[in-house]
């Protein structure tokens, strides 16, 4: 096994092109578990910690650009919470302070788990993923980037640079159900936004379909929205919960989230 540690984005892209088998590692909160438990032995690891271009966030014309190296702790900052409330609330539900200090949004996208906590709030914020390789840059809607459970559209020579989301899209909230009161992987999660200006309801859920899934409806559909969202889910039974419960909980969460957003 090799560890490649680029010091700039250019170097990272060149190394990525030259070593397509090298697994990118940022916060390590998913990948290190696989290494520690002997589940993965990649040829090489591409350590992105030293690439300054991936860090931080910026804002331009209502679009917020979140670097792939943005941690959940960063995302909980008051400034980001004001722009992207659901994303910020979701970040607070991720693991523990230790995990939030290391885990990154790029890692959540790279792992593409159906339970990824950042994915539902990004989905309701018109999210585009910025991908780059030595061949150039492309942008994909997050819905197109997530192609299956733990599968994404990243090409072998590409890196996730950032995501672009629209800030200030009405009122939003995030909720996550787990069997204990902290430190859980979502049994089911929900991000919901009410955009009165454009008359749109958006909900995105995690852990209730092969990928995090977005459902939108007109503002008038408030009453039927919980049912619509639950119907869009295709949850399974696993060690964390039953499919029937996930669908039930989703219905309850949507109704509560609507109430929360509409009365705010």
């Amino acid at each position: 096994m090799d560890v490649l540690t680029p010091r700039s984005l250019d170097e990272a892209l060149r190394l990525r092109a030259a070593h397509p088998d090298a697994l990118p590692i940022q916060g390590g909160t998913d990948l290190m578990v696989d290494l520690n438990f002997d589940r993965r032995r990649p040829e090489a690891l591409l350590n992105l910690n030293e690439v300054a271009e991936l860090k931080g966030w910026s804002r331009e014309n209502g679009v917020v650009r979140l670097g792939a190296g943005l941690t959940y702790t960063d995302a909980m900052s008051a400034k980001l919470a004001a722009l992207l409330p659901a994303f910020s609330e979701a970040s607070r539900t991720v693991g523990s302070p230790q995990i939030r200090n290391r885990g990154t949004i790029g890692g959540n996208l790279g792992t593409a788990s159906p339970a990824g906590d950042a994915l539902p709030p990004l989905l309701i914020s018109e999210c585009e993923v910025e991908l780059q390789s030595v061949r150039g840059e492309r942008r994909l809607a997050l819905e197109s980037f997530l192609i299956g459970p733990k599968r994404n559209a990243l090409a072998p020579d590409e890196l996730i640079l950032a995501v672009r989301v629209r800030g200030g899209l009405g009122t939003q909230t995030f909720m996550k159900v787990g069997p204990r009161n902290a430190m859980v992987i979502a049994v089911v999660s929900l991000a919901l936004g009410v955009d009165r200006e454009r008359g749109v309801l958006s909900a995105a859920f995690g852990s209730a379909a092969p990928v995090a899934t977005l459902v939108t409806a007109a503002l008038d559909d408030v009453d039927s929205f919980p049912e619509q969202v639950a119907a869009a889910a295709s949850p399974i039974d696993d060690v964390r919960g039953t499919g029937a419960y996930r669908r039930h909980a989703l219905r309850v969460l949507v109704a509560r989230a609507l109430e929360r957003c509409l009365t705010r």
Binding site: M175, K176, R180, N181, A182, V239, Y245
Partner: protein, 742 residues
């Protein structure tokens, strides 16, 4: 501010004082050496290859690939075990390494020693085992209709057990008390189920074996009972006991999970084979296969009472899944049976218990040891009865409370202290916090950090439960503890006792007793090893404080007498303490003869306030108050610590903890999917120590570790029932059960 230098001992107190732990400072600085921290020059790393099947025949094992991996020094199988091929606490039924069959998922098949753990892992991966998968027995209800997992019918028989010729019966037990057909005015019934709980001690199984160069071996290990380890290890190594020395290494929690062997024989085999020290450390996943668990149980109960609330008769059928090997299942069976009725005066009873072999993960000792399971069922029944009779649940319990002078369903008269009514009263009198206003921050509500409610769907419930269990070993077991005291000429003293410090604080107890008896602060405790002192018995069954106190007291007093007789000088005295004798129950009737079956009991009552999000099925325990019968608190702060920690473990079983299996394979062997309570799950716990000296025990002490775990699962689920109106007959309670999905 007072400053304490690292490595210096804070002043220790005498009996009855809250004193700082003697190992407190090194544990906060990181200097304390746990079993997994051991290292020595030239050390190799051991690794275990485990069965991926719950049940399979082993046709052949090919080691050639593994032996050729760089850095590998040994690859061993059952054929390399020089002595006895099997071991076990009660019956020697468990192969050191699988011989021709594996009976549970994760059973050890081969072991490797290499320079680096990664080399050991790669080598283990290259061992080729030819398995013929067999159909696993996974339903305990069907076990007695299946092929026997242990073909020799005499392999698990004991004189004082009821003979049961059916296959896969580990032990059957029956208590017939009074007239089991006695009828009451009111009858309540229920069927209850408990999942299997893991001890989930934080320090995984680990140890270091060092060959002594003369054919013997020193094993440094995190364990609960050094001498019984040696008793099992030596014959398998083909060595006399003197050539096997077991030393206690720092223990990261135990809770019953270190009663059975883990790395001991394996590391010793590898060390003797390679003539190098060998260290073994399980990772968390492996730890789930590395020790036994709490028995899952199915319990059918029927309680009959008079209209004014007096219990007339209890009938209970208890089925315990022992998993693949016996471990301590027979004693767990006895406890479940003995305490089935709860701490109540019951004139008539029929209790029938069976534990069976299956291909599920092996079960054995865990804190509460059989009493947890029956307390859950019995207390749910008491609440049902209270409801049917329209009597306050606390009043109903008081009305039937057992006490000194009463008789247990086994016919044993309680001659020792058992203040059941007092713990009930004192617990009931604890003032619970007033309901907090809604809406409020999500973090203070069911669902916690998940931000799922600000008050929507939330209902509050109150639960109450009482439980009891035996202290120390029962059924005629020769229960003893040795201690050795050396008085030096300078007036200082050294105490040897093999009692395992597993975190419970027995080291402090030993020091407090010695300081009190010798009337000096200048006492040190010697390293804990089989080489220097006799057996202490196990740090389990809530017995260690009692037994170690007795042994250290006797040794101290004898040492003082001897010094007096000799007129001074060095004195070195060893004494063995035994509690009052017990005897087995009659195998046919479950009744005592002349001697009691249990030496003493301890009880606890608990009140729980819980909030439940009845729409999402999520919970938050808000507050717990408890009163516990502790005899005499040697170190009150440590007693509170035992109560709080034991309560939290019962909370885990009530709300979240279960080892899940599919076809006998564990599907949640990680801390990601086997969840234990976090800082946001355990509420403030208020504890009242009820001190009535136990007449037969040194200083009047009782054990305190288990009663809180016995009672808290029952009390917490009672609060959830109160909040939801649902029966909730299975733990851990799932969100599905609360919202009514099935």
């Amino acid at each position: 501010m007072s400053r304490v230098m690292p490595g210096t001992e804070a002043r220790l107190g005498w009996i009855g004082e809250s004193v700082r732990r003697v190992d407190g400072i090194p544990k906060t600085t990181g200097e304390f050496e746990y079993a997994s921290d051991l290292q020595v020059a030239g050390m190799l790393w051991g690794h275990t290859l485990r069965s991926p099947y719950a049940h399979a025949r082993v046709r052949a094992i090919d080691l050639s690939g593994a032996l050729s991996v760089a850095g590998v020094h040994a690859v061993l199988t059952h054929s390399d075990v020089p002595g006895r091929k099997t071991y076990g606490l009660e019956f020697q039924d468990q192969p050191v390494l699988a011989i021709d069959r594996v009976r549970y998922f994760g059973e050890p098949v081969a072991i490797v020693a290499a320079e680096h753990p990664e080399q050991a892992r790669r080598a283990a991966e290259r061992i080729v085992v030819d398995y013929e998968p067999l159909v696993p027995i996974v339903d305990p209800e069907r076990a007695t209709e299946s092929e026997p997992l242990h073909p020799d019918p005499e392999s698990h028989v004991s004189d004082h057990y009821l003979r049961d010729p059916r296959p896969n019966v580990l032990r059957t037990m029956r208590i017939i008390h009074g007239d089991p057909d006695a009828r009451g005015d009111v009858v309540v019934e229920g069927t209850y189920e408990l999942g299997s709980q893991d001890q989930a001690f934080l320090g995984p199984e680990s140890g270091l074996a060092v060959p002594d160069g003369k054919g013997g071996v020193d094993v440094y290990v995190a364990t609960q009972w050094l001498h019984v380890d040696r008793e099992q290890v030596a014959p398998c190594l083909g060595l006399p006991e003197e050539q096997v020395r077991i030393h206690l290494a720092g223990v990261g929690g135990a809770f019953g999970g270190r009663e059975d062997l883990s790395i001991q024989i394996h590391a010793a085999l590898l060390a003797l084979h390679t003539s190098r020290p060998v260290k073994m450390v399980y990772n968390r996943q492996e730890s789930f296969s590395g020790h036994v668990h709490r028995h899952p149980a199915r319990i059918r109960a029927e309680h009959r009472a008079t209209r004014d609330g007096r219990l007339v008769c209890v009938q209970m059928r208890i089925l315990l899944d022992g998993g693949a090997y016996a471990s301590s299942s027979t004693a767990v069976t006895a406890n479940a049976t003995s305490f089935a009725c709860g701490p109540y005066a019951v004139p008539n009873a029929l209790i029938e218990t069976m534990s069976v072999f299956t291909n599920n993960p092996p079960c054995g000792a865990m804190r509460g040891f059989g009493a947890v399971q029956t307390c859950f069922a019995a207390e749910a029944q008491m609440d049902k009865l209270a409801q049917a009779l329209e009597i306050d649940p606390v009043e109903l319990r008081l009305l039937n409370a057992l006490g000194t002078g009463d008789t247990l369903p086994t016919g044993q008269r309680i001659t020792s202290s058992l203040p059941v009514a007092e713990v009930i009263r004192r617990c009931a009198a604890l003032r619970e916090p007033d309901p907090e206003e809604l809406p409020r921050a999500a973090i203070r509500l069911p669902g916690g950090a998940g931000n799922t409610t600000r008050g929507e769907g939330v209902k509050r419930g109150v639960g109450f439960a009482v439980g009891f269990k035996n202290i120390a070993y029962s059924e005629g077991f020769d229960d003893s503890c040795a201690a050795r005291v050396r008085l030096h000429e300078d007036g200082s003293a050294e105490v040897h006792c093999a009692a395992a410090e597993v975190g419970q604080g027995v080291t402090n107890v030993i020091l407090q007793v010695a300081r009190t008896e010798l009337a000096t602060d200048d006492v040190r405790i010697a390293p804990v090893t089989t080489a220097a002192v006799g057996s202490s018995g196990s740090a389990s069954a809530s017995r260690m404080t009692w037994m170690a106190s007795g042994a250290v007291r006797d040794a101290c007093r004898a040492a003082l007498v001897e010094r007096e007789a000799r007129g001074g000088g060095e004195v070195d005295v060893e004494r063995v303490y035994r509690h009052r004798r017990t005897a087995p129950l009659d195998p046919e009737t479950g009744q005592v003869g002349e001697l009691p079956a249990h030496v003493a009991f301890a009880c606890a009552a608990m009140k729980v306030i819980a909030e439940v999000d009845v729409e999402l099925g999520l919970t938050r325990v808000v507050w717990i108050g408890t009163a516990q019968d502790v005899g005499k608190a040697v170190n009150p702060q440590a007693v509170e610590g035992q109560i709080e920690g034991g309560t939290a473990q019962g909370l885990g079983l009530a709300l979240m903890e279960e080892i899940q299996t599919r076809d006998g394979l564990i599907t949640n062997a990680s801390f990601t999917d086997y969840l234990i309570p976090t800082a946001l799950d355990v509420p403030p716990i208020v504890s009242e120590l009820v001190e009535h000296p136990e007449p037969d025990a040194p200083y009047g002490v009782k054990g305190v570790g288990e009663p809180p775990t016995v009672v808290s699962t029952a009390a917490i689920v009672a609060a959830l029932r109160d909040a939801t109106g649902r029966e909730l007959a299975r733990v851990p309670v799932r969100p599905d059960d609360i919202v009514g999905l099935q």
